[in-house]
Structures are given as C-alpha cells and as structure tokens.
C-alpha cells in the first residue's frame, strides 16, 4: 500500500524522480507507483510538474506584478466569473480569492513594468464589475515555492565521524 501523502510530498520536492526510484524509496513496485500517480492525476490532485528556475539570473529583465483587484460579485456567479476570465491569460501565473480589503490577488509576469501597467489598465480596469486595482511590483525574490534563493550549499562536517 502506498501512502498518498508520502508519495505526494516526495514528488512535490523532486518531480524528476523516476517511477523506479520512487518505488525503491517507498518500498513498493514501479507499477504500483505508476498506477497511484495515474489515479492522482485523474482525480486532479496532481495538476502538473514545474521546474523552479531562478529567472533573476537567467532573464533579469523579467518583471512580476502582484495586483490587488476589488470587484462587485456578479449575480449568480459571485466572484468566480471575473476570476475565471483573468485566469485565462497565460501571463497570469496565479489568481486567488482573498479575505481582507480586496477580493482577488493576481500574479502577473511579463517583460517590463510597462507591460504589466498596460495589462492592468487595458485588461483588468476596464472589465465590468472591477471597482479598483492596486499594483505591487516584486523587487527581489528571497524565497519562493518553499525554496530559499541564493542558499549557500556548504557541508562543513568532518570527513569521518564515528
């Protein structure tokens, strides 16, 4: 029997492990691992596999905006309608319904500040039901997706310890 949570935590931290490797680590067979992963995909529990990239190193001009959006809920559809439309844009990398002083938090990635400003003014602000927006720009990433950026990888342990 595979422990779902153990399997998910394992591949959440390293999506590149092969079924064979996972099978050894969990003490089961590759066929069982594959069957379980298929089930978790079918149930939309596993949604996809990403690579975590430090884009600041590779493409320093990349720009990320966090956009707070206040909206009027649409009759019968609540907040979902506007959220679903905004989620369709590829460059929207996250969209959350929030508690507190605004309703939706949109994370939007593009090349320049101007690109983000254009998206906010032309696409979001003009939507029916949108009351106001506030845009924040990310200046530097210290930690994202549970990973600390620029984490020195040192092992200062003695060569042999009994």
């Amino acid at each position: 029997m595979i422990d779902d949570l153990e399997l998910l935590r394992l591949i959440e931290n390293n999506a590149r492990l092969s079924s064979e490797e996972i099978a050894v680590m969990l003490g089961t067979t590759a066929a069982d691992v594959e069957a379980e992963i298929k089930r978790l995909k079918d149930e939309n529990i596993i949604l996809g596999y990403n690579t975590i990239i430090n884009w600041e190193k590779q493409a320093p001009d990349n720009c990320i905006g966090m956009i707070e959006v206040r909206i009027t809920p649409v009759k019968n559809k609540g907040y979902d309608h506007i959220a679903q439309i905004l989620s369709k844009y590829d460059k929207v990398t996250a969209c959350y319904l929030m508690s507190g002083g605004f309703d939706l938090m949109i994370i939007y990635e593009d090349r320049t500040l101007r690109d983000i400003a254009t998206f906010v003014t032309e696409k979001i602000a003009t939507m029916e039901g949108v009351l106001s927006t506030t845009t924040h720009f990310i200046l530097k990433k210290y930690k994202a997706n549970g990973i600390i950026y620029d984490n020195p990888n040192t092992d200062d342990r003695q060569a042999i310890i009994l």
Binding site: E6, R9, L10, E21, V24, M25, L26, G27, D155, R157, Q158, A159, I160, I161, L162
Partner: protein
C-alpha cells in the same frame, strides 16, 4: 636525558589503544572535498530554524550565565513532557532528569559514578566507540557481547545471560544502533527484561540518542518502558541525532534519583552545567519540533531504502536496518578486510565509508555506510560501490 612521559600518563588511559584505523581517517580527511562521504555519524540536516531561533533569542535576552548544575528547570520540564509524550514514561523533572553536554558526557558520568576498579560492564558490540573506552577510563572491565547479522544485530537474551557474572555492575545497550542500524522492538526488549529480572543487581545504561530514528513504526522502544525495571535503568539521551543538533552539545540523563544524584555530583564539579544557549534551544526542540523530526525521519527512510537496494545491486549482503542512519553490509565476499575495502574504495572511487572493525572486533568483514548524506550523493556512491565490487571480483 629525555623526559619519560609514558611513565607519567595514567595506565587506564594508556591501556585504551588509539583508534586502530587512524591512518585511514587521516587519508580520508586529506581527501575531503574530493570524495563522496558516507562516513559521517551526524545528520546532514541543519538544525530546524525555530530551534536555532530559540538559541539566538536566548542570547538576545541575556541568558549567558551558568545555569543550575542540573540544567534550567524549564528545559528539564520540557524533556519530561517529551518523554511522557513519546515514551509514555514519567520522570520527575526536578530529581530524575539532568542535562549533560551531549550524550557522551552521560556515558562518562555513568562509568565514573558506578564503577569500582575491577567491576565488569557488559558492552554490546558492534557499538559506538565510547562505550568501551569510558568503562576502561573508569578502571572497569568491559565484557563484550557480540551481536550477529543472522539475529539482525539484536541483543539475544541468552547472549546477555551468558556474559553476566557476579562482578557485573551494568550493561550498556545502544539501540537504534550505531553502526549497524539495528533496532530492538518492545517485544525484543521484553526478553531482555526477563533476563534482567533474574539478575536484580544489574543496572542498565541505555543509549537512546537515535530513538526517534526508528523506521519500523517511528516510535521509541526502550527498557525504560518496563515499570519493573524503573529503579535501575538510566537513559542516556539527547538531541544531537534526532534533532540534528550535534554542535549544540546537549543531552540528558533520566533515571531514578538515587542513580542520577551521584552523576550530578561529578557533573557539578567537572562541568558545572551544559551550555545555557543549548539548554534553552532544547525547550523548543522538545516541545514544538515533532513535525520537523518526522520530516527528517521520512527523508532518512527514503534514503535507507535506496541504500539497501544499492547494496543488493552491488552484490553485497546486508541485513535490513530499521534504525539510526546506517547500513552495515558484509564485504567478506570480496576477499578483502574491512580496512582494505575502505581504503581501496576511497583511493580508487573516492567514496569514504568506515571499516566495521572500528566498532569492535566482530565488525571485521563489515563496513558502515551512513545515509546522512544527500540522495544524489548516495545514488552516485552506490553506483561506484557496485563498480568497485565488480572490478574486484574479476581480479
């Protein structure tokens, strides 16, 4: 005329031989940085952040003085809570627990507090190197019981029984075991308890530094859990291995007041107290770090299975370890001694592991492989070990 130093050094110290494999250690240390090291008996994880933060805060708050000899009462209460929660055993924080400088100080204090010259102490090998040495430094006579791979390196009741004489003062057991990775379940301990019940004069020193690193059910199992033995079992424990806190140098002894008090007496004259910073850090460890420990345990467990599979693929026999972070495969099929195997592996493949004879004579023919290392390093090392074994089989 040169000064005769040898005549000045205590005989008890002189009779403990320097580690027989010193040469190998030096070689490995010289090569550090160019080798994959699976020879390290400490966690590769950094201490969980909230524990480090508690240490930092204790300094900010000015806790930079001596603590009471036995340790801060809050720290001892936290340990008592932990033992109640994880072992289901109650100790009085004031009189039955005190804080030491790592588990090692506990081993030393027990030897000095209990042994009269000539007393016998049963040492279960293969084991951590300090057991025998602390007994010898204290003028005791170690009596070795050799555990066997065919018994999964468990201590067998008949083996213990056979080693007991009327000079036996105490027995040192260390499970989950360094270097074999063996564990004792509560059922296994029950059989040892039966032997001890027939010998009501014998004390037990139980080294449980690896207690949280049990991959069978994730729970500590210990002789302390038998109420019948409560008046003569002393637990040596600490945070080094389970909580990745080796550098904090903080551990504890728990047991009946009558046995603990003389150990505190030595401690108060020789050590004064464990480092205050470390004592305050362990409150956070004992109270709030169960999740962090579980995370580390799960990761060790994954690596353990990779190592066991890797050894099997390499054609080396290995009993399945269920504790600590070691595997102890047999290398006799290669025709090499433990030291030859390790030295050649280091020179030819740049993989460092430890010869089994470092942990007692019966460790000859075996090697200790630590999986307190990254998964990538473990996989690469296993690939190299396989290559090495194949090359030396052909030759």
């Amino acid at each position: 005329m040169s000064f005769d130093y040898d005549s000045k050094i205590s005989k008890a110290v002189q009779q403990v031989p320097p580690s027989a494999i010193r040469k190998f250690f030096d070689l490995a240390n010289e090569m550090k940085g160019h080798v994959i090291s699976l020879s390290i008996g400490e966690p590769d994880f950094v201490t969980p952040w909230t524990i480090r933060e508690a240490a930092i805060n204790s300094i900010i708050d000015g806790y930079t003085h001596y603590s009471p000899n036995s340790g801060y009462i809050d720290s001892r209460v936290a340990i008592a809570d932990y033992l109640k929660r994880r072992y289901g055993v109650s100790y009085d924080a004031k009189t039955e627990i005190f804080i030491t400088v790592g588990g090692s100080e506990g081993l030393d204090l027990a030897a000095r507090a209990l042994i009269n010259p000539g007393d016998e102490v049963i040492v279960v090998e293969p084991c951590f190197v300090a057991y025998k040495a602390t007994v010898e430094f204290a003028h005791g006579v170690p009596v070795i019981v050799e555990t066997k791979p065919e018994n999964n390196y468990k201590l067998m009741p008949e083996e213990l029984e056979a080693a007991i004489t009327d000079k036996t003062k105490y027995v040192i057991v260390g499970y989950p075991n360094n270097p074999t990775g063996a564990i004792m379940t509560l059922e296994d301990w029950a059989k040892i308890k039966d032997v001890l019940m027939r010998h009501p004069e014998i004390i037990v020193l139980s080294d449980e530094l690896y207690c949280e690193l049990n991959y069978l059910d994730g729970k500590p199992a210990s002789l302390t859990q038998f109420a019948e033995l409560r008046d003569r079992v002393v637990m040596v424990n600490g945070f080094s291995k389970s909580y990745a806190m080796t550098g904090f140098r903080v551990g504890y002894l728990a047991g009946p007041h009558e046995l603990i008090a003389p150990m505190v007496k030595i401690h108060q004259y020789c050590i004064m107290c464990a480092p205050s910073t470390s004592q305050l850090a362990i409150i956070e460890a004992a109270m709030n770090a169960d999740d962090e420990v579980k995370k580390m345990r799960d990761e060790y467990n994954h690596r353990r299975r990779v190592i066991v599979q890797g050894l099997k693929d390499a054609g080396l026999e290995c009993f399945t370890p269920y504790g600590a972070f070691y595997a102890f495969p047999c290398i006799k099929s290669t025709g090499m001694t433990s030291e030859e195997f390790c030295e050649k592996l280091l020179i030819e493949k740049h993989v460092a592991i430890v010869p089994g004879n470092a942990f007692g004579k019966c460790g000859e023919g075996f090697v200790r492989i630590s999986y307190a290392a990254s998964l990538d390093d473990i996989k690469e090392a296993m690939r190299l070990v396989k290559e090495f074994v194949e090359e030396h089989k052909k030759g």
